[in-house]
């Protein structure tokens, strides 16, 4: 570290960037802004008509300059179809793409990424079917992965079908364990990446469980993105079946109906090396499937709809690729939204694709003011897009809620929500959206969206601290996970322990706090930012999460299980854990299973959460 500081001290930095100059510059900048504001205000007072005219002219100028920068591009890039917002257009030829990257990335000595050939898909061997799923009366009701949108499955590192627990360890080995009334037994292991991937390190990210067809579908990256299917008709002898590959690093995926929608990303430097044309199962994509955006981008998002047949065969239904800056993905029941922040004008660009029957259809793009602060701040329903955004300018900021129709026209809005506060968590449930803003205290807002053209704030309730994640708990309750905050002695607030809050949302006009509990001595939980890491089951009346705790001189991680009893949180159990990464909670019947990368423990929910069994991997 000292070395680093030495070198930075020796770095010759221009006078204008020295802190004292910067302070001066900012002071002038502040004055300038104030002046502009005063002038505008004066005009507004004495001649509102004049202002409108002025605004009109200013708008025209803005449009004009916008247009100017857009036509100002290398001639090779001129002819194309453009969507009306100018965010995307189809690539017209391979040459255009080549030119684009040639011009776009001034990297000397760039590395050409070696393209790997996809391994041949091999048919599964006829599996010994001596093993059968015997139907006894064991309770195999079970939990499933906590997902963003009900009905749209997401991959995870642990899944269960009520008979087995499938656990993906951090070393890439997938363990299969039987779990019957708390008794655990290791059945088999799968190494999804045993093949040689050359210089690439294989990274298994997550998997899906196709219960009906007894398949495990593993998603991993090794120089490109792989989908590897394993047949687990006989779980003690998993069989490697089909494989699918596409360019880029695995980013995320969704499993809806028969299709897995897989998203991967190639980085700018890789694009340059391979002309930006991704490959699907080893074959180059057609240019007509590639969209590009203006300006300098740093990545290409490749998305495919891959049909999973009942025999496990993977069939590509459609692929498309979008050359855009680093983006987020939201997938609702009708559309896929790719969105990203354009830091140049602090707007969010949104690209919408329909995806019915595994076919992508670019149906629109737009740019909206502000940015989307939370993964759960975006939602769609009945052709409407709902967005909670924060817009800031000139040292002030505003949160707003907007409803867009299919043409991306704003049809309803709530503006000026909690000015200068930040949205920490949001959740769309039925015809309401709930969200948390925070500065000193944590208000929960309830907005009615049953009439999309007239969203209305119904009620709000305040509590100290703030929630980072919201999860419905039955119909009338809403669970919040976040922090308690306390006075920091400087007139501000300091974050204290982790806190669970239960909001009563039965009366939307008057949401209320039912109970709040601090997790003793805790300071961080993975569940704050990874919703798959929290376990919430109304059915079993259980809430589980891991938290790092600090108790005097003792540091460590514990897994906490809470129950909701008589309108209060009750700590049901807590377990010391060694390996605190990749923890997941699941239930099967009346047993709770806590899995980590090192093993599984089972506890009896009905019998005081006593430990029943344990396996180590």
């Amino acid at each position: 570290m000292d070395n680093r500081n030495d070198f930075l001290d020796n770095l010759e930095i221009p006078e204008s960037l020295q802190p004292e100059h910067i302070e001066q510059m900012l002071n002038e900048h502040k004055k300038e802004k104030k002046n502009t504001w005063t002038i505008q205000k004066t005009i507004a007072c004495c001649a509102s008509v004049g202002l409108i005219t002025l605004a009109g002219v200013a708008g025209a100028i803005a449009l004009q300059s916008n247009y100017d920068t857009r036509i100002d591009r290398p001639s090779g890039l001129a002819a194309r179809t453009e969507d009306k917002n100018g965010i995307l257009h189809l690539v017209s030829s391979k040459k255009e793409l080549e030119n684009y990257f040639k011009y776009n990335h001034l990297n000397y000595g760039g590395d050409i990424v070696e393209e790997e050939m996809a391994p041949d898909a091999t048919a599964p061997d006829a599996s010994d079917s001596d093993y059968s799923f015997n139907d006894d009366d064991t309770d195999t009701s079970h939990s499933s992965t906590n997902v963003m949108v009900d009905g749209i499955d997401e991959g995870d590192i642990v899944k269960t079908d009520g008979k087995y627990l499938y656990v993906l360890r951090s070393n890439g080995i997938l363990e299969i364990c039987s779990a019957k009334e708390g008794k655990l037994e290791k059945i088999s292991s799968i190494n999804a990446t045993e093949e040689d991937h050359g210089s690439y390190y294989a990274e298994v990210r997550e998997f899906y469980l196709d219960e009906a067809n007894h398949k495990l579908i593993v998603m991993f990256s090794a120089g490109q993105t792989y989908i590897q299917v394993f047949d687990i008709t006989n779980p003690s002898k998993p069989d490697k079946a089909y494989v699918y590959t596409q360019s880029g690093e695995y980013y995320t995926s969704r499993y809806v109906g028969e299709y897995i929608y897989v998203f991967s990303r190639m980085w700018a430097s890789e694009l340059e090396g391979c002309s930006g044309i991704p490959s699907i199962n080893g074959a180059n994509m057609d240019c007509s499937q590639i969209y590009m955006s203006d300006g300098l981008v740093n990545s290409e998002m490749i998305m495919s709809a891959v049909k999973v047949n009942s025999d496990g065969r993977l069939e590509v239904s459609d692929s498309t690729s979008v050359i855009i800056p680093y983006n987020e993905v939201y997938m609702g029941h009708d559309n896929i939204y790719l969105y990203y922040m354009d830091y140049e004008d602090w707007k969010t660009c949104i690209i919408r694709f329909g995806y019915s029957n595994g076919k992508f259809d670019l149906t629109g793009t737009t740019r909206v003011n502000g940015y989307i602060q939370d993964k759960f701040a975006i939602s769609e329903r009945d052709g409407y897009l709902f967005l909670l955004t924060k817009e800031s300018s000139n040292m002030s900021s505003e949160n707003r809620f907007d409803v867009y129709d299919e043409e991306f026209k704003v049809v309803g809005s709530v503006r000026d929500i909690a000015p200068d506060e930040l949205i920490y968590a949001a959740r769309y449930i039925g015809d309401k959206v709930y969200f948390i803003t925070y500065r000193q205290i944590d208000p929960l807002f309830v907005v009615d969206i049953s009439d999309p053209t007239n969203p209305t704030i119904l009620g709000e309730v305040e509590i100290t601290g703030y929630s980072e994640y919201l999860h419905p708990y039955g119909d009338n309750l809403l669970l919040g996970l976040g922090y308690e905050t306390v006075d920091n002695g400087y007139g501000g607030m300091r974050q204290d322990s982790l806190k669970l809050v239960m909001f009563d949302i039965s009366d939307a006009m008057n949401p209320a706090i039912k109970d709040a509990v601090e997790i003793p001595n805790s300071y961080y939980s993975e569940a704050l930012y990874d919703y798959k890491a929290i376990f919430v089951s109304k059915e079993k009346n259980l809430i589980g999460l891991m938290a790092y705790v600090e108790d005097g001189y003792e540091y460590g991680a514990r897994y906490f299980l809470y129950q909701w009893k008589d309108d209060h949180f009750e700590l049901a159990a807590d377990y010391a854990i060694e390996n605190c990464n990749d923890l997941r909670g699941n239930f099967i019947g009346d047993y709770f299973y806590l899995t980590s990368s090192n093993g599984i423990i089972s506890v009896d929910i009905l019998d005081g959460f006593e430990k029943v069994d344990e396996v180590k991997f």
Partner: protein, 184 residues
């Protein structure tokens, strides 16, 4: 003074408080911009633009402790714009000519940087080898190894998955080692 308090004041428009936070990070910002853009004038422009943007939008900063990551992201976006502006301007310029000129500038700037970073990476050979590494990997190495950001922070700045950053870096370092052997 505690950084959180400084940020709080800066959020209210206190330029002195802002300058104080800035003083803790500006050398890194400038070094990184120089590293990406390869010339001093552009790096200077980009850093001062970044400062104004950051000051105006400081209210957007959600987690005060992540100030470094946040301002680096803005810097990254400004650098990208700078590169793009150059790309638009280039329409009238002969392409081959431009690349040649630009590369020459870059090599010169890189060499300058090399002498400045001697105490960290005191080997010309390593720098020569580094120039052959994928540009994104070089950025990762610069942020992590040279500027000392944690992998998680590098991942946030570059808006990449943390595992990806880790595996890319491991791969790049492996490649570097190989290249170093060739150079020596």
């Amino acid at each position: 003074m505690e950084q959180k308090l400084l940020i709080k004041r800066a959020k209210r428009g206190d330029t002195h408080a802002f300058a104080e936070i800035y003083s803790q990070v500006y050398k890194k910002l400038y070094q990184h911009a120089l590293y990406i853009l390869g010339n001093r004038a552009d790096a200077e422009d980009v850093v001062s633009e970044t400062v104004v943007e950051a000051f105006d939008h400081l209210k957007d900063l959600k987690k005060d402790e992540a100030f470094d990551v946040w301002i680096f992201r803005i810097l990254q976006a400004r650098c990208n714009r700078k590169l793009r502006d150059t790309y638009v301007a280039r329409e009238t310029v002969d392409f081959e000519d431009y690349v040649e000129k630009h590369s020459a500038d870059s090599v010169e700037a890189l060499e300058e940087l090399v002498s400045e970073t001697q105490s960290v990476i005191n080997s010309i050979d390593l720098q020569t080898a580094l120039a052959k590494v994928d540009p994104l990997d070089r950025e990762i190495i610069n942020l992590h190894v040279v500027l000392g950001y944690k992998t998680a922070e590098v991942a946030s700045i570059l808006e990449m998955n943390e595992n990806t950053v880790r595996s890319r870096e491991a791969r790049a370092l492996k490649k570097l080692k190989k290249l170093m052997k060739e150079v020596i």
